[in-house]
């Protein structure tokens, strides 16, 4: 059981790092990376939970494992979408951040 302690701390630290990065990093790409670090922390926490629940012949509780597999796919889809949005924004406006800008207006139709 002691093996989960390092990963517990790593998971908590990853969540903190990811949140910090998402809030303070300006570039969209860095935000996407930070989001993935945050997600990695959450999944690792599930891993800790799964490991703690090992038993009955399973090296880790299969239910959290399945949840992580589902979650990883969803996170990938979200990342892909964010990347596409960032690329389109960059392509059209040349912008690399999502800071509030003056042109965030609502042009006449």
């Amino acid at each position: 059981m002691s093996a989960v302690l390092p990963y517990s701390i790593a998971a908590a630290a990853l969540v903190a790092l990811g949140l910090f990065g998402l809030v303070v990093q300006a570039a969209v790409l860095r935000k996407i990376l930070a989001f993935n670090l945050l997600g990695g922390g959450v999944f690792l926490l599930f891993g800790v939970v799964a490991r703690r629940g090992a038993g009955a012949g399973a090296t880790a509780d299969p239910v959290p494992q399945a949840i992580v597999i589902t979650g990883l796919v969803v996170a990938f889809a979200a990342t892909a979408l964010a990347v596409v949005l960032a690329l389109r924004m960059h392509q059209i406006t040349g912008a690399a951040t999502i800071a509030e800008a003056a042109e965030d207006g609502f042009p006449d139709k």
Binding site: P6, G21, A26, A27, A34, V49, A58, I69, T70
Partner: protein
């Protein structure tokens, strides 16, 4: 000395994460992230979750790394804008304190989790036989929590259409992504030609063994998608036009098969998403095959992006 290995690995994971945040260039950061993904894969192995480790390697590090690398090449410049939008020291300190507070609370909460841990390992192991599956994770994904898997495969379809819908109107129906010149020679072409058949075999194998051993449709599908991306980047294949009926069908085959199987369970078995006794294994394999196809198609098309050229 398992403890030391685990501490070291955890430290490396955090180091890679810190590098990803602090790296001087976007490219370096993405490379750091791929490294992070591989280290986390190792962590999953250490945590006894080999299925997750495979998925993490295939999707978390692999596929995510590929789209981020492709993005970093196209997202150039903007350094001034970034530095202008970077918050001042006060916000930095506040964010650090608050994020640290959240991390601290989380660590305390994890330490306060009950011992022995409540969980469903025993139940999941005990009843997997009813599905004819040896791998308990597969039993969770296809059996106990089948609805999650069904909805998640639907999410992939959502995501593909969402990505497509970001295209300009006039490109609708066209071919996704940039065109890569055909590499007749060179390392990439060689790699593609060599790896492609091997990768295909491995991908299908991983998907196939998922019922008994670690593996499954997501991992297998990802490997298949990766092979296709390789061939695409090497200029050997072209993405299909998004208007193509075959592409659409490939994308929905998995979830649709799952849904139909669900109704079959309603007619023949205990209810929606129940696998009829006796038929469970063959039906699961059939649905998994369709799902592997759909997952591969979805992941590949997510990497390719919105349509950029006329068909």
């Amino acid at each position: 000395m398992g403890g030391l290995v685990d501490w070291l690995l955890a430290a490396l994971v955090l180091g890679a994460a810190a590098w990803t945040l602090a790296a001087p260039t976007g490219f370096a950061a993405v490379v750091g992230f791929v490294g992070f993904g591989l280290l986390v894969t190792l962590a999953w192995v250490r945590l006894g979750a080999v299925d997750v480790a495979l998925t993490e390697a295939a999707i978390g590090a692999g596929a995510t790394g590929v789209i981020l690398l492709m993005a970093v090449v196209r997202l150039r410049g903007g350094a001034e804008e970034v530095s202008a939008a970077t918050p001042g020291r006060a916000v930095m300190v506040a964010a650090g304190l608050l994020a640290g507070g959240v991390g601290l609370a989380l660590a305390l909460a994890v330490l306060a989790l009950p011992d022995p841990a409540p969980g469903l390992a025993a139940a999941a192991m005990a009843r997997r036989g009813e599905l004819g599956l040896g791998n308990p994770v597969a039993a969770v994904l296809m059996g106990y929590r089948g609805l999650d898997t069904l909805l998640e495969s639907v999410v992939l379809v959502f995501a593909v259409l969402a990505v497509w819908s970001m295209a300009p109107d006039r490109r609708w129906g066209g071919i996704p992504g940039p065109r890569f010149p055909r590499q007749e020679a060179g390392p990439l072409a060689l790699l593609a030609r060599l790896l492609l058949p091997i990768g295909l075999v491995i991908g299908i194998h991983v998907a196939w063994v998922g019922a008994e051993a670690p593996g499954g449709k997501f991992q297998g599908g990802t490997i298949l998608a990766a092979m296709w991306v390789l061939a695409w980047v090497a200029g050997l294949v072209q993405p299909p036009a998004i208007a193509s009926q075959a592409v659409r069908l490939a994308l929905v085959a998995g979830p649709l098969a799952f849904l139909l199987a669900g109704f079959a369970g309603m007619a023949l078995g205990e209810g929606f998403l129940a696998w009829p006794p006796g038929l469970a294994k063959p039906m699961i394999l059939l649905v998994e095959a369709a799902m592997t196809l759909s997952v591969a198609a979805a992941l590949a098309l997510l990497v390719a992006g919105p349509p950029e050229r006329a068909a």
